[in-house]
């Protein structure tokens, strides 16, 4: 019979590099930096680690042949013949690394494991993510379908369905970006650390209509790591360990763009993943029970729609429930992305999912460096990161909380 993962696995150490255009570091340097911090945080050494999972979409994005194997981490850390596995689920890769590690612990095959997510995007000489490799339909059907091009489809659809003029819709999105930059400015490891105004956001250069410069996350290098042990043994490592309450991955069938039933105003995959995760964690009213949601906001519209699809408010009611109430600030009714989010903290693809979990863990532990964004009375945090694009997503949802 299937067993729940709830309260079986504990996170006893977390680490995260400075997210930035890291001209000083290559992909292995980033892994080493994040893992060093996580190991120290857990009070263990690399030789104690029994198995590792590394999540990365493209590694260093240098090789058109595709991303590397587990060697990218074993070589960086000089682990000696332990299993190190590369996992990938696009932007959900960091979540997959933590999930692989968590399943290793839950199976009791291991009792001290490492998860790391990493991406080195800035060594290529161009911005953005590059194009898909030849495979089914690509790159002719879907040619030039960039991430902003695909996400902006959802913004147009949302504005149209809920009766926003582009100007009014863009203001709702601008408020989200202002909030992201507010927290980026208060997070020493964030990539974009400058506050912006609504006027700056709505008047910014257009990237992909209707999304402007401040509606889009930057292209960032970084890594994040976690050390996991069985919850039953976690006290030996630290008092304030954090338990995994639920983990869901809801890989969509991938054909929603082509599906007449889909209107691009919600993330179907996130809805399905959220139902599974809330059931597993025993959450009935997520807006009341969750202290923080760190969700995938590679674009401002992605934060808006993910908030609705995680059932934090009714579909179409985002402006009333979040913008007007300022609910998404750290002292608001439902804090969202108070790390700065992918938007301002940065989005190294494979690192982001693990980095969101790290934010939730450190919030629970009361260890957020800048007290101005520390959430009081933290109980449960949710980390959501999704790979793919509207119509073809794979979200990972990890809920963590006090034991």
């Amino acid at each position: 019979m299937r067993e729940s993962i709830k309260d079986k696995v504990a996170i006893v150490g977390t680490g995260c590099t400075k997210f930035a255009e890291r001209w000083d570091a290559d992909v292995e340097d980033l892994i080493k930096e994040a893992v060093d911090e996580a190991l120290k945080d857990a009070g263990v050494e690399i030789k104690d680690i029994q198995a590792g999972w590394v999540g990365t979409g493209r590694g260093s994005q240098q090789v058109p042949m595709g991303p590397p194997g587990g060697h990218i981490a074993s070589a960086a850390l000089q682990t000696q013949y332990i299993p190190f596995t590369r996992v990938d689920n696009l932007c959900c890769g960091g979540q997959e690394a933590v999930r692989g590690a968590a399943l290793g612990i839950a199976s009791r095959c291991y009792d001290l494991v490492l998860a790391v997510g990493v991406e080195k995007l800035k060594d290529t000489g161009y911005g953005g993510l590059g194009e898909a490799y030849p495979g089914k339909w690509e790159p002719i059907y879907g040619a030039l379908g960039t991430p902003p091009g695909r996400y902006a489809l959802a913004a147009t659809a949302y504005f149209s369905k809920y009766g926003y003029t582009p100007e009014a819709g863009k203001r709702v999105l601008a408020e989200i970006s202002v909030k992201s930059h507010y927290y980026g400015a208060r997070n020493p490891k964030a990539h974009l650390r400058r506050e912006i105004t609504v006027e700056e956001a709505v008047n910014a250069p257009m990237i992909c209509w209707p999304l402007g410069l401040y509606d889009c996350c930057g292209v960032t290098d970084g890594a994040s790591a976690a050390v996991l042990v069985p919850s039953s043994e976690a006290k030996a490592f630290r008092k304030d360990y954090v338990n995994i309450k639920a983990f869901s991955i809801a890989t969509g069938p991938g054909f929603l763009k082509e599906d007449e039933r889909y209107d691009f105003t919600y993330w179907a995959e996130t809805r399905e993943g959220a139902k599974v995760a809330y059931a597993e964690a025993g959450i009935k009213d997520p807006r009341k029970e969750l202290s923080l949601v760190e969700l995938h906001d590679a674009f401002s519209i992605a934060e808006l729609i993910a908030s609705e699809s995680l059932y934090l408010c009714e579909p179409g009611k985002y402006k009333q429930e979040f913008t007007d109430k300022r609910a998404y600030y750290h002292d608001g009714e439902m804090p969202v992305n108070v790390s700065g989010g992918l938007k301002s903290f940065g989005h190294p693809i494979g690192a982001s999912g693990a980095r969101e979990i790290e934010e939730c863990v450190r919030q629970i532990q009361g260890r957020v460096k800048e007290p101005s964004r520390q959430i009081a009375n933290f109980d449960l945090g949710l980390a959501h990161n999704q790979g793919g694009h509207p119509g073809r997503f794979v979200p990972g949802i990890c809920i963590v909380g006090r034991p």
């Binding site: 030039l144 091009g149 489809l153 913004a155 147009t156 990237i207 209509w209 082509e258």
Partner: protein, 473 residues
């Protein structure tokens, strides 16, 4: 009797005003010229004209295709085969590119007529298209435009009878391109006029008129090829044609000189204004001359739904700058692209050729939904693809569900517009939107599909379908 049973034409959406050319190079400019979009070439222009021409016909009866152009996208690799697939013609077809001369269009027409007359083909499709380039800052740069026309040749319900034809072939040199030339070269125009064009066009026209026993006064419209704006005048004078009523405008001021498509397009324009019984003279030039006398039958009334020249001229977008034109026609060395080399997979295109070339969707026979592209299982009821049947979708019309405009795209003509189109009658297409005015795109607007060049990854012209706002209105 063998003759033309249908016709069609295509004028690309974009127009370059000659005032813009004058701003760049000096002088005065009058009118405008049609410019193929950045994703169009002579092959795709030809597909458009052919689709206009084939409207309402049983395409399985077409068993030969002749594609005339001087600007084939490949030096080695047939264009006609790609056109045949994009027009959803059967595979058991003869398909030929007829190239290297402005006169290849009437040569192709003659080959098609002969094939149908001989009985080796029931119906034959003739297409002429050109995207010719002249050197910047020349008369010819200003003159040349892009376009296409198509004729279907058959024995039943003939719309245009061919009363006579005459042919002269000469080793005469006036315009040429060497193997690797992108732009034309030419000899002093006086030699062409005095020793070639005037005497031999005149001879061909006289022969055709004599053979048909038709007097000049009986000609309703004369479609007379001209290498430039003035030379045609010598023929008009020589034959005492009335320039006001009898001479078909070659549309140099609205479309430009479209190379081997010039006479076919002007003939379609003439036919769109013709009535039953009209006699039409047509003559082309290039390594000699051809002339034809045509007679319009009362079946012309069945051609009313052709967009032809008339409707395609109605929808237009002005190119704002010469820079855009340079991008469209790749007239410069551009910024080096640091992006990883774009790839494609020929095997994938071949496996799904019904999708990439013919634009077939699939219909699930279990739940009735139409899907594009072809999934392994029904996305609605998960039935196995064994229960699917193909549905041709190239003629479907639909409406925009949502769209975006990528300003920073690598597209030649940004913003790159992505759109999701719901077809009337079922099926959805996630697509690039081409031939669009970025200031006038709306959710719910009417769309149709068009065959375009998506990119040149791995030095292969990769063609596929895009959506575009419905044209011809």
């Amino acid at each position: 009797m063998t003759g033309i049973v249908s016709y069609g034409a295509y004028v690309p959406l974009y127009r370059l005003s000659r005032e813009i050319l004058a701003q760049v190079w000096g002088g005065k400019g009058k009118g405008e010229k049609a410019v193929a979009s950045a994703d169009e070439d002579s092959l795709t222009l030809g597909v458009e004209a052919a689709r206009d021409c084939l409207k309402g016909f049983d395409k399985s009866k077409v068993d030969a295709l002749y594609f005339a152009t001087t600007t084939a996208p490949y030096k080695e690799k047939l264009s006609a085969s790609t056109i045949a697939a994009a027009c959803d013609l059967k595979e058991e077809i003869r398909a030929v590119d007829v190239t290297d001369s402005i006169r290849s269009s009437t040569n192709a027409l003659t080959m098609a007529v002969d094939a149908v007359k001989s009985g080796s083909a029931k119906m034959a499709l003739v297409i002429a298209a050109d995207v010719r380039l002249a050197p910047p800052d020349t008369l010819y740069e200003s003159l040349f435009g892009d376009g296409a026309a198509a004729f279907l040749i058959g024995n039943e319900d003939v719309v245009v009878e061919i009363e006579s034809s005459s042919f002269i072939t000469l080793p005469f040199m006036d315009f040429w391109r060497l193997e690797n030339d992108k732009i034309i070269r030419w000899w002093e125009e006086r030699l062409c006029r005095e020793e070639g064009y005037v005497p031999f066009m005149s001879k061909a026209i006289k022969d055709a008129l004599d053979k048909a026993k038709v007097k000049v006064a009986d000609i309703a419209k004369a479609v007379i090829y001209s290498p430039d704006k003035s030379m045609q005048g010598d023929i008009i004078k020589a034959f005492k044609l009335d320039p006001k009523t009898q001479v078909q405008d070659l549309m140099f001021d609205s479309i430009g000189h479209t190379g081997c498509a010039l006479v076919p397009m002007a003939l379609v324009a003439a036919l769109q204004n013709a009535k039953a019984g009209d006699k039409i003279l047509a003559a082309t030039w290039g390594d000699g001359a051809d002339a034809f006398v045509f007679k319009v039958t009362n079946k012309i009334s069945k051609m009313a739904d052709r967009r032809g020249i008339k409707d395609y001229l109605k929808s237009r977008v002005a190119l704002p700058t010469y820079g855009k034109y340079m991008h469209f026609r790749d007239l410069m060395e551009w910024e080096h692209d640091l992006f990883m080399e774009r790839r494609m997979a020929l095997a994938e295109v071949w496996r799904y050729r019904n999708w990439y070339f013919r634009f077939y969707g699939v219909k699930c026979t279990k739940c009735g939904h139409i899907m594009l592209p072809h999934p392994n299982y029904c996305i609605y009821c998960q039935a196995d693809e064994k229960l699917f049947e193909y549905v041709p979708m190239a003629d479907a019309k639909g409406k925009v569900v949502t769209y975006s405009m990528d300003v920073r795209s690598r597209a030649i003509d940004p913003p790159n517009v992505l759109a999701v189109v719901a077809f009337d009658g079922g099926g959805r297409f996630f697509s690039q939107m081409t031939d669009r005015d970025p200031d006038n795109i709306k959710v719910g607007m009417d769309m149709e599909v068009t065959f375009r060049k998506v990119h040149d990854a791995l030095h292969i012209h990769n063609y596929f379908w895009k959506c575009r706002p419905v044209r011809g209105k």
